[in-house]
C-alpha cells in the first residue's frame, strides 16, 4: 500500500486511527498496530510477507542467545549468524541475479537467473533487524522477549516501506510506554498532510517533467532539455523521498512514536560532507554506527573504510553498476574534502561552496538515474554540450515557461523558507489572545485545504481517459 493512494487514505487510515485511539490499553494498541501493519504490508506484498516474519524470527532468537551468553564467544557467533542470515536474504533477493549476470558476461557461462521480485521494503527492514541484534549485543537496548513486539518494531507501517531506518535502541522504550499528547498528534497530522502534498503534487509534477526529457530518445535531447531533465529529477527525488519521511514521521507521531529526522534541507549544503549530513540521515547513521566505526573508522585504514562504506551505500540503492559508481563518486569527493578541498572551501566565500555542492549533487543524480550504461554516457555527453540535438528547442522553452511558476515554488520549497514562515506564524499566534485564536483556526483551515488538494491530486492521478487514435 502506498500512502498516496485512495485505499490508504480513505480505508486504511480511518480504520487505523479509530482502532488506535478507541482501544484502551497500550498492549491492545500495540497488537492492533501490528495487525494493521502486517495487513498494510500484505496488501502490497502478499507473497513475501513470510520472509519478513522469518527474518525477524531469526534476529529474535539470535538476540535471546546473545542475552543469555553475554561476554562469551557464543554471543559473538549468535550475532554473526543472525546478521549473516538477514544479509543473505537481502543478497539472494536483491543482488544474486546481478552477480550471476556479470559472472555470465565475463566467463561466457549460462548460469540461470532467479528473477525474483524484490520484496517491498526488504532493504529497510533488514537494516532495522540488524540494529536490533547489534544494539542488544552492545547492551544499548534490552532483549525483546515478546516476538510480536519485535515484529511491531520491524513492520510498523509508517516506516516499513521507505524508512527512515529506525534504530531499535531509539524506539524500544516507546513500544513499552508512550503517552499521547494532543499537540504531538496534531503536529503529526500536519506533517503527514504536508508530506502528502510534497508527494502528490511537487514530486509528481517534477517527475513528469523529468520523465519527458530523460526517458525519451536521447539523441533528440537538447542541451537545455538535458539540464531541465536532470534538475527536475533533482527536485523529484528530494520531494518524493523526503515526502515519504515526512509522512512516516507524521504518522508515527500520531500514534505516539518519535522518529528522528531523515532530511535537513540537503540542497542548502555547502560541501558534499555537509550534504550527506542532511540527506537520508538514517542511512548514513546506520552505515557509520554499524559499519564504518566497527571497521576502524578514522583510527585505522580510514581510506579503505570510506571506500567500503561508500561502495556499499551506492550498492544499497540498487543492484546495478551505476549505483556503485554513484557511491564511489561520493567516496572520491568526500575523501578529497577530508584531504584538502574542505579547507579550501572554508577559505572562499560561502556561496561558492553552495554552488560547488549543488552542481556535483545534480551531476550525481545523473549517475543515479541511468542504469543503462550507454544511455548514461549519451546523457552526460549531451549535458556537457557534445552531441546535443540543439541548444534549445521551442518545445523545451515552452515546457520551461509553462512550469516556471512550479519551478519557482519547488525551489523555494527546498529552502528553509517554510521554517521561517512557521516561526513567524508562531510569533504571531503568541502576540495576543485574539491572534492566538486566529492562528489556531488558521492551522485547522490549512489542514483542511491540504487534505482537499491532496485528495483531488490523488483522484486526478487515476484519471485515465480513453484516447482516440487518428491513423
Amino acid at each position: 500500500m502506498v500512502f498516496s493512494s485512495l485505499s490508504f487514505l480513505y480505508i486504511f487510515l480511518p480504520i487505523c486511527l479509530l482502532g488506535a485511539f478507541a482501544l484502551p490499553k497500550l498492549q491492545w494498541k500495540n497488537y492492533f498496530l501490528l495487525a494493521m501493519s502486517l495487513f498494510f504490508y500484505a496488501w502490497g506484498e502478499p507473497k513475501w510477507i513470510l520472509l519478513m516474519l522469518i527474518s525477524t524470527a531469526v534476529e529474535y532468537m539470535g538476540a535471546l542467545v546473545v542475552d543469555k551468553n553475554r561476554g562469551t564467544t557464543k554471543a559473538k557467533v549468535a550475532v554473526g549468524v543472525s546478521v549473516g542470515v538477514a544479509l543473505s536474504f537481502l543478497f539472494i533477493f536483491k543482488y544474486l541475479d546481478f552477480f550471476t549476470f556479470n559472472f555470465n558476461t565475463i566467463f561466457h557461462t549460462n548460469a540461470k537467473l532467479l528473477e525474483l521480485t524484490l520484496p517491498i521494503g526488504i532493504s529497510f527492514y533488514t537494516f532495522q533487524t540488524i540494529t536490533y541484534i547489534v544494539d542488544v549485543y552492545r547492551d544499548k537496548a534490552p532483549v525483546q522477549k515478546n516476538y510480536a513486539y519485535l515484529l511491531l518494531y520491524v513492520s510498523m507501517f509508517p516506516q516499513l516501506i521507505a524508512g527512515p531506518i529506525v534504530k531499535y535502541a531509539d524506539i524500544e522504550a516507546q513500544i513499552r510506554k508512550r503517552t499521547l499528547h494532543g499537540k504531538d498528534v496534531g503536529e503529526g497530522v500536519l506533517r503527514f498532510l504536508v508530506g502528502l502534498f510534497k508527494k502528490a503534487i511537487l514530486a509528481n509534477v517534477a517527475g513528469e517533467v523529468a520523465s519527458t526529457f530523460l526517458d525519451g530518445d536521447l539523441s533528440n535531447l537538447s542541451l537545455l532539455g538535458a539540464w531541465l531533465g536532470i534538475l527536475s529529477y533533482t527536485l523529484q527525488i528530494y520531494f518524493d523521498f523526503s515526502a515519504y519521511s515526512d509522512m512516516a514521521i507524521g504518522l508515527g507521531r500520531i500514534f505516539g512514536f518519535q522518529y528522528k529526522e531523515n532530511f535537513n534541507y540537503p540542497y542548502i549544503a555547502n560541501s558534499i560532507t555537509d550534504f550527506w549530513r542532511r540527506w537520508h540521515i538514517s542511512l548514513t547513521t546506520f552505515f557509520r554506527e554499524y559499519l564504518y566505526i566497527p571497521l576502524g573508522g578514522n583510527r585505522k585504514h580510514q581510506v579503505l573504510n570510506l571506500f567500503i562504506v561508500w561502495a556499499l551505500t551506492g550498492f544499497w540503492h540498487g543492484a546495478s553498476w551505476n549505483f556503485i559508481a554513484w557511491g564511489l563518486y561520493y567516496f572520491v569527493l568526500i575523501l578529497a574534502e577530508k584531504l584538502f578541498l574542505g579547507k579550501a572551501l572554508e577559505s572562499i566565500p560561502r556561496v561558492f561552496g553552495h554552488i560547488y555542492t549543488l552542481l556535483l549533487v545534480v551531476l550525481g543524480w545523473g549517475l543515479f538515474y541511468f542504469d543503462d550504461m550507454s544511455r548514461l554516457r549519451q546523457f552526460f555527453s549531451v549535458l556537457f554540450g557534445f552531441g546535443a540535438s540543439a541548444g534549445a528547442t521551442a518545445g523545451d522553452v515552452s515546457i520551461l515557461l509553462n512550469h516556471l511558476l512550479f519551478f519557482v515554488f519547488a525551489i523555494v520549497a527546498c529552502l528553509p523558507v517554510s521554517r521561517y514562515i512557521r516561526e513567524r506564524y508562531i510569533a504571531f499566534g503568541r502576540s495576543s489572545v485574539p491572534n492566538s485564536k486566529l492562528a489556531d483556526a488558521g492551522i485547522v483551515v490549512f489542514a483542511v485545504i491540504l487534505l482537499f488538494i491532496n485528495t483531488a491530486a490523488i483522484v486526478g492521478s487515476t484519471y485515465n481517459p480513453f484516447l482516440y487514435f487518428r491513423f
Binding site: 480511518p14 479509530l18 499537540k183 535537513n264 512550469h403 499566534g429 492551522i443 491530486a457 481517459p465
Partner: protein, 138 residues
C-alpha cells in the same frame, strides 16, 4: 543561510492540545465519511469525462491474490468509484492548470496522430506515459 539542526520541538506550532485533537478529529471525520460513503453509495459504471467504462468490483480468489492481480483490481475499483470522483477530477484540472503539468490529464480527449497503432501495445497513451508512483521502495 543559518545552519541549524531541525528540531521540530523547538517551538511547538500548537500551543493547546485541543487544536491537535481538533486536527485529528478533522482527519478522522473526513476520511471516515468518504470511507462509509463509498460503501453505501451506488457505484457509477461509466465515466463520461473519461469516455470509458469504470472498473467493477473484482471477484476474490486465493490464486488471484497471490498472483498479485486481485489487489491492483481492488485499488482500481475503489478509485474508479470513489465518491465525488468527477468533482475531484475537475478540481485537479484546476490544480494542473496552476502547475501546468504537461500530462494528458488536463484534456478530456486527446487526439494523437500516429501511423502505427501498435506502438503503444494496445494500451492507452496514459499507461505509456504515466510515471511510477512506487519509486524508492524496496
Amino acid at each position: 543561510m543559518r545552519h541549524r539542526q531541525t528540531d521540530p520541538n523547538a517551538l511547538p506550532l500548537l500551543r493547546y492540545s485541543r487544536v491537535g485533537v481538533g486536527l485529528l478529529a478533522m482527519l478522522l471525520a473526513v476520511t471516515m465519511f468518504f470511507f462509509v460513503f463509498s460503501i453505501f453509495d451506488t457505484d457509477a459504471t461509466v465515466s463520461e469525462q473519461e469516455n470509458r467504462k469504470l472498473a467493477t468490483k473484482p471477484a476474490f480468489t486465493v490464486s488471484s491474490l497471490f498472483a498479485g492481480e486481485y489487489i491492483p483490481k481492488v485499488e482500481e475499483y475503489y478509485s474508479d468509484t470513489f465518491p465525488l470522483r468527477n468533482f475531484f477530477l475537475t478540481v485537479n484540472q484546476g490544480i494542473s492548470k496552476v502547475t501546468s503539468r504537461m500530462s494528458f490529464r488536463s484534456d478530456d480527449v486527446v487526439v494523437v496522430q500516429n501511423n502505427q497503432p501498435d506502438d503503444f501495445g494496445g494500451q492507452s497513451l496514459q499507461d505509456v506515459t504515466s510515471t511510477s508512483d512506487e519509486e524508492n521502495e524496496g
